[in-house]
């Protein structure tokens, strides 16, 4: 996602929850399902470093950060789509991860865009 979009997203106020309602609010209108996804591949350098880390096992920090960033981007796209539909909240958010090809993974976030009051 370009920088401008990322900045734009930060100004959007969107309530998010993985429960069926936003706690403390009531749903006024349902606007349908929204999705946000991104496909990420790893840097070859990180791959080699991870290979060395595999000797002792444990956390692969480079990958943890990579997927964290990717998931944040998927959420940003989710927020953008909901915003364009005129929603002010997303409920019942779910995450899905799938390995596309060796070294690349798709991260997806989906939920229901709603208007809450």
């Amino acid at each position: 996602m370009p920088e401008a979009d990322a900045q734009e997203v930060q100004t959007i106020e969107m309530l998010m929850s993985n429960t069926e309602t936003i706690p403390g609010h009531t749903i006024i209108q349902m606007l349908g399902i929204v999705t946000g996804s991104t496909v990420r591949a790893k840097h070859i350098g990180k791959d080699i470093l991870a290979g060395f880390k595999n000797i002792v096992g444990g956390e692969l920090k480079g990958y943890t950060e990579l997927l964290q960033e990717a998931r944040a981007q998927a959420l940003q796209r989710l927020v953008m789509e909901s915003h364009s539909r005129g929603a002010n909240a997303i409920v019942n958010i779910r995450f899905a991860t799938s390995a596309i090809a060796g070294g690349a993974a798709e991260l997806m976030a989906y939920g229901t865009a709603v208007v809450v009051g």
Partner: protein
């Protein structure tokens, strides 16, 4: 002849250097490293005190604010653990090496979620879900698992 025996020893030493030695290295240092990290996690869990995560779908109390929280970790097994696990898959039964790694990863992911909730000023996290997915490197050699823990943080 002593010379021939030396030659045989050398020809055996090379394959050993690239197979047994790294595995031994992996076994010794992997054990030390993982034990140290697991002890650090224990300390973090204990010093944190209360458990603010629940799998309840709705908040038990009045809520003033809420927000989505996610925490993840990618964990891999060491060469040694991978070998032992691989041998285990021939005979079946419990694969203890993977078992321990997954339990550890889940514990770490949940602890991160707890810490994130506290850092964000949330009192509780409701509807906590745990997801596991396999991560592969480009050549498919290094397999690892990702544990994702997510939930809705609530302020009472």
């Amino acid at each position: 002849m002593a010379r021939d025996e030396l030659d045989i020893l050398f020809s055996l030493a090379w394959p050993l250097l690239f197979t047994v030695v790294p595995l031994l290295f992996s076994w010794i240092f992997g054990n030390i490293y993982q034990r140290k990290k697991q002890e650090e996690l224990e300390v973090r869990v204990e010093s944190f005190g209360t458990d603010n995560l629940t799998t309840l779908k709705s908040p038990p109390t009045q809520v003033s604010a809420s927000g989505l929280l996610t925490a993840n970790i990618i964990m891999s097994v060491s060469w040694w653990q991978k070998l032992v696990g691989g041998i285990k898959t021939i005979f079946g039964g419990q694969v203890q090496t993977w078992d321990g790694i997954l339990a550890w990863a889940r514990k770490e992911a949940m602890q991160r979620l707890r810490e994130q909730a506290r850092a964000g000023g949330f009192d509780n996290v409701i509807n906590v879900r745990l997801e596991t997915s396999e991560i592969q490197s480009s050549k498919g050699r290094n397999t690892a698992v990702e544990i994702l823990a997510y939930g809705t943080g609530i302020k009472t």
